[in-house]
């Protein structure tokens, strides 16, 4: 049995990742420790066995049909690059318009909707645009580093919670101008974050 504290060193030794002085010191230890020698032998055997694993395994069924069905509806990146970029830009514009409306004097001083135009329409604008931008971002997200995606998701969750809370409060007290400002601030944060992420993913 290997010395319990030697696991990392033995693995690095087998991987050839130890610096010369550490390697010499480890080899001196190995000369005296049968347990660690046996562990090195096992690690090398495992490495040799791993190298024999087949590089290729054919799936049990032909997967092309499913792929062909999906790509038949989509363009390759060449055609799509511009259109997706344009779509993202359009979504940003729409969402920016929504926020402009949110922050405009008219909406900051809430008045009841007239002919469908008003706070509800503004919220609908924001919802539609954020959904569009989120969809684009979801399609592009693998261009971002995983830790960036994780951070983005955490921040979006916080902002979404703030939006949901202010929206619920507005439902109870629709004439409250302060609540409108709170909602506006949260929506603006979301816009900024989504806009940055969409740009980062597209770059």
């Amino acid at each position: 049995m290997m010395c319990p504290h030697m696991e990392a060193k033995l693995n690095e030794y087998v991987d050839g990742a130890l610096a010369a002085p550490d390697r010499a010191s480890l080899e001196a230890h190995l000369a005296e420790c049968a347990g660690c020698r046996a562990a090195v032998t096992e690690l090398r055997s495992l490495s040799a066995a791993t190298a024999t694993l087949p590089r290729s395994i054919e799936p049990a069924r032909d997967l092309w049909t499913g792929i062909a069905g999906r790509i038949g509806k989509r363009e390759t990146g060449y055609g799509k690059r511009f259109s997706r970029g344009a779509l993202a830009a359009a979504a940003v514009l729409v969402i920016a318009l929504g926020v402009y409306r949110l922050l405009s004097p008219f909406t900051a001083q809430y008045r009841p909707a007239e002919g469908g135009v008003g706070w509800a329409a503004v919220q609908a604008d924001v919802d539609r645009a954020t959904e569009e931008l989120s969809r684009i971002l979801a399609a592009e997200r693998d261009r971002l580093r995983p830790e960036t995606v994780a951070l983005l998701e955490r921040n979006l969750a916080v902002i979404d919670a703030a939006i949901a809370e202010s929206r619920a409060a507005l439902a109870r007290d629709p004439a409250n101008a302060e609540l409108h400002q709170l909602f506006s601030a949260a929506a603006r944060q979301k816009v900024e974050l989504l806009r940055w992420a969409a740009r980062a993913a597209a770059s």
């Binding site: 696991e7 990392a8 693995n11 562990a39 096992e42 690690l43 495992l46 490495s47 066995a49 791993t50 694993l53 087949p54 590089r55 290729s56 395994i57 054919e58 799936p59 049990a60 069924r61 997967l63 092309w64 499913g66 792929i67 062909a68 999906r70 790509i71 038949g72 989509r74 363009e75 390759t76 990146g77 060449y78 055609g79 799509k80 690059r81 399609a139 997200r141 693998d142 580093r145 995983p146 830790e147 995606v149 994780a150």
Partner: protein, 172 residues
């Protein structure tokens, strides 16, 4: 046919050329997905996702690396993204008093006949992913850390753990 020509034609939207690329690479992509997920159904799904994503991303392939390297890296991303979504679904389903269920090894997938394949498939997911990426696919710890969002030290710890579990399994 010349692979470069196939890639160029596929980039122009030629689906037959893309199918030829699929036929040439599906075995490697599926093997990667199968080992990372340890689940044949998920591996099929991720393989399809990877090729669909490759079709969408063909314009971004500039030939700086081999097409195969580009495709396999994209596949790893696809599997890891799928895993995160799956993990979120599982978290919603697993009861709060049983968090260890998320780290429990899965049953080995059917069709993996070799002892080592079975042992790899039975590893906990974190250890399995790092083992497959490092020891089978040859990624460096720094790359694994970037791809999976874990620290380099965690990647090493998962690898050593995987090897320890595999040695134990193979010695039984």
């Amino acid at each position: 046919m010349d692979p470069t020509d196939l890639i160029h034609r596929a980039q122009q939207g030629d689906r037959a050329a893309f199918e030829a690329l699929y036929r040439a690479h599906v075995g490697r992509v599926y093997a990667l997905c199968l080992r990372l997920t340890a689940d044949a159904a998920q591996a099929e799904e991720r393989t399809q996702d990877a090729f669909v994503r490759a079709w969408e991303r063909l314009a971004t392939f500039r030939g700086e690396s081999a097409f195969s390297s580009w495709l396999y890296r994209l596949t790893v991303n696809e599997v890891l993204l799928g895993r995160r979504a799956e993990h979120r679904r599982e978290q919603r389903i697993v009861t709060a008093d049983d968090p260890a269920a998320l780290e429990r090894p899965r049953e080995p997938a059917a069709g993996l006949v070799l002892d080592l394949e079975r042992a790899v498939a039975a590893l906990p997911s974190g250890a399995r992913e790092v083992f497959v990426l490092h020891d089978v696919e040859g990624y460096r710890h720094e790359e694994i850390a970037r791809l999976t969002g874990i620290a380099v030290g965690t990647s090493k710890a998962q690898l050593f753990r995987a090897r320890r579990l595999l040695r134990e399994a193979l010695n039984r």
